[in-house]
Symmetry: C2
Subunit: 465 residues, 2 copies
């Protein structure tokens, strides 16, 4: 047993006591009547960070609910700077009758602790405080080996509506060499893993206009443009026969999967049959030729039709050539694709359909979300891997996320690589009744956190400025 | 002036008097409170046919509103048998305030008579009675040169819901060598024409099912089947780059346009720019390569997407892979395509998409409607052409109809060629306020009808049995 493991084991009751206190505050951000509780949660955390020794602790106001910021400079002015992200708000608890224990009365049963927010995300914020304490105690330091900044937002479960603005307002104070996000899961209980990237996103609506009135398909059909048929052609043309997206230059910036990453993905104990069943795919999977299911979801960009409509959609038949056709299309992006470049390619593609009696337009739902990816050989990721392996005592594998959260804004605004160091489990029932955290996972998280700061400080090339 | 022209001119006041009386009966089939008026209209016509000399006149009941049947055998037992079709019901008159004269008070202004039903179809039924009278008077006959059967239905403006059943119930009594339909228009006032065919129809709904629940496109997109994308591919695949329908064997039975028919179509004074404007095609036409607009609408089969829907169609964006996609598709058919064969080809085509995680099904909206076409060299059409040319004193051209009406059932149940001998004009405002009939056209119709029976009787090969 390492010193760190012994320290965490000796002090784990402190983590549990903190967790019990914080989880009793129902900081539901989606519920306006809980706004006071979210503020109380921020104040509780700010106090706890002061007790931990952070010399700077501030509650940051937003146009919505408050975030907490703290900073503890390293004694070494050349130490890497780390910004740690988490959130202190929680999901609503409905349907309450499905909870076996009251959601805001934390209850330990065996090695599990049940409460709303237990793992998402209060438990994962608090393991860092025990980890930091272990880091200081076992190294005899009076300040961390890295300059540690903490930002814990209060609106993540409501879609982080003000988080990007917060980051932009405080860009200088949050500036760092690496972002550590602790709000995610490992692959499974027996397979510790680190998430190395997230897909980005851009979405749009395509509108096609043909005749100015619905026309009788008998009297006119065959000689007039049919916007539904043209829309079908436009949407079908987004993919080739191999399931690849056809937009001009779409793959130009895509970082290909390395052989090493594919081998490591393949080592994950992924049960495809179970995944198919849990995904309600009674007829099986489909996707880009040449890639596995995990590769398709994690590491390949997509074009998806999210909705389409036009013409007569009621019962029976109405033989018309309609005036309009509409579709909502979104693209999942992978590093280093740029949402605005994809938007330009899509706009060009749609413009190609502005002919033969059809007016074709496309409108994008904002600037989109950049994908992020930390290469396997990035020094910070090597440090995180070493820290996790020290905590778990076994090989750590790599995953990615198919979607994106506020972490994308962190990577984008702070222009720093993001490490996802989380110890949740896929079956922790986040957002559902009976959310839990598996306590041994939480303690492993504290150990990993304790190792992480020393591992980062030991790698000079983590520093980016 | 021919004897017939002189006779019609001398007796046209009788036609106007009949028309005035019949048009005062508001036989609106779509309005249940007018059911008694529709019956009164049938009785009026039955009486009038008896006065005209028809030895057999019957009011035929249906599950809805009554039709009128009459028969006048030729003295020549070898004469061709003709069944004449029309309808005695009329469209509703809303919006009443847009009428310049009361719709059921026939008003002559200049050479136009204004009333609901003036041309659609009471005027066109009645010109036949004056024509028959002229035929008998000018030839000295006591019975027509053909055996003449008349069927005038009372629900045409309500979609003829019971007409096919009526035809099937009375198939033997309506048996004939040729059907004459007088419920259509000529190309324009200066261009007498005969319609030689109508397109048929079959319609269906295609349903695709993918995941059993809507899936998050970030967590799952790229590895799961997207029914909307597959539907787009299915619909786009219905046409090739030349706008031709790709269904297996779709064109095998299509009677190609003859050079003669294309030349005659081209002689019609078709104003494409005006048609485009009236069709509200602010961006122009589109269709199968190698055919003119009239050819596309009249003589070429089509596949049209009438409606499609699936996924998220509300405001903003929802990045889902949806469970289902739906489309309504209809095919316009031309002779000699068989609706059931097209249905089989479509079913096979859709079945080809029942793979890669997608369940694909198609349901047809009934047996469909057969197209009909009378070849230009058909003896009956030659007779009708000669009759029209005698009445109008100029070359008669040919048109077709892009859609189909109850006439398709006549052709199908009675298995006889259909001649469309009508003298309406495209701007007669049928179904709209201020419907009118142009009186000189009506009198030309009477002349054509008078010539027609002799022309048919003079061509022994009109007889088909």
């Amino acid at each position: 047993m390492t010193d760190i493991a012994q320290y965490v084991d000796a002090h784990k009751h402190e983590l549990l006591a903190d967790l019990d206190a914080w989880l009793r505050i129902p900081s539901i951000s989606a519920s306006p009547e809980h706004a006071g509780e979210v503020r109380r949660s921020a104040e509780w955390l700010a106090d706890r960070l002061r007790v931990a020794g952070f010399p700077t602790v501030e509650v940051w106001e937003t146009a919505g609910l408050p975030a907490v910021f703290a900073e503890w400079p390293s004694a070494d002015p050349d130490a890497p700077v780390v910004t740690l992200y988490g959130h202190h708000d929680v999901q609503p608890v409905d349907p309450l009758e499905l909870w076996n224990t009251p959601p805001f009365e934390p209850t330990v049963i065996g090695d599990e602790l049940f409460a709303r927010g237990a793992v998402d995300d209060k438990g994962q914020v608090l393991f860092h405080l025990l980890g930091l304490q272990a880091h200081l105690a076992t190294t005899g330091r009076s300040s961390p080996a890295v300059t540690l900044k903490v930002v814990v937002e209060g609106e993540e479960e409501s879609g982080s509506p003000h988080f990007r603005q917060l980051l932009e307002d405080h860009r200088d104070r949050l500036a760092c060499d690496v972002v550590v996000v602790s709000d995610t899961s490992v692959f499974d209980r027996d397979t510790p893993s680190i998430c190395t990237g997230m897909r980005g996103l851009t979405d749009c609506q395509v509108d096609l206009h043909g005749p100015d009135v619905d026309l009788h398909s008998g009297s006119f059909g065959g000689a007039v443009p049919n916007p539904l048929a043209v829309m079908a052609d436009l949407l079908a043309g987004l993919h080739d026969a191999d399931g690849r997206v056809t937009l001009d230059g779409f793959y130009d910036r895509v970082v290909p999967l390395s052989d090493q990453e594919r081998e490591l993905f393949a080592k994950l104990p992924f049960d495809e049959a179970r995944w198919v069943a849990e995904t309600a795919l009674s007829r099986g999977t489909a996707g880009e030729a040449g890639y596995s299911t995990l590769e398709r979801v994690w590491a390949r960009p997509t074009a998806e039709v999210n909705g389409m409509w036009g013409g007569y959609t009621g019962p029976g038949h109405k033989t018309i050539v309609p005036t309009d056709a509409h579709a909502k299309v979104s693209f999942r992006l992978v590093a280093d694709q740029e949402p605005l470049e994809v938007q330009r390619a899509m706009a060009d593609y749609v413009a190609g359909y502005d002919r033969d009696g059809i007016t074709a337009t496309v409108a994008f739902g904002g600037p989109g979300v950049r994908p992020c990816l930390t290469p396997l050989d990035a020094p910070a990721l090597q440090a995180a891997t070493a820290a996790m392996e020290a905590a778990f005592g076994q090989e750590v594998l790599y995953t990615r996320e198919g979607g994106s959260g506020p972490e994308a804004d962190l990577a984008d605004v702070l222009a720093a690589p993001v490490l996802f160091v989380g110890v949740g489990l896929p079956d922790d029932r986040i957002h559902a009744p009976n959310e839990r955290v598996v306590l041994p996972m939480l303690f492993k998280g504290a150990q990993a956190a304790a190792h992480l700061w020393a591992e980062l400080a030991a790698r000079p090339d983590v520093k980016r400025r």
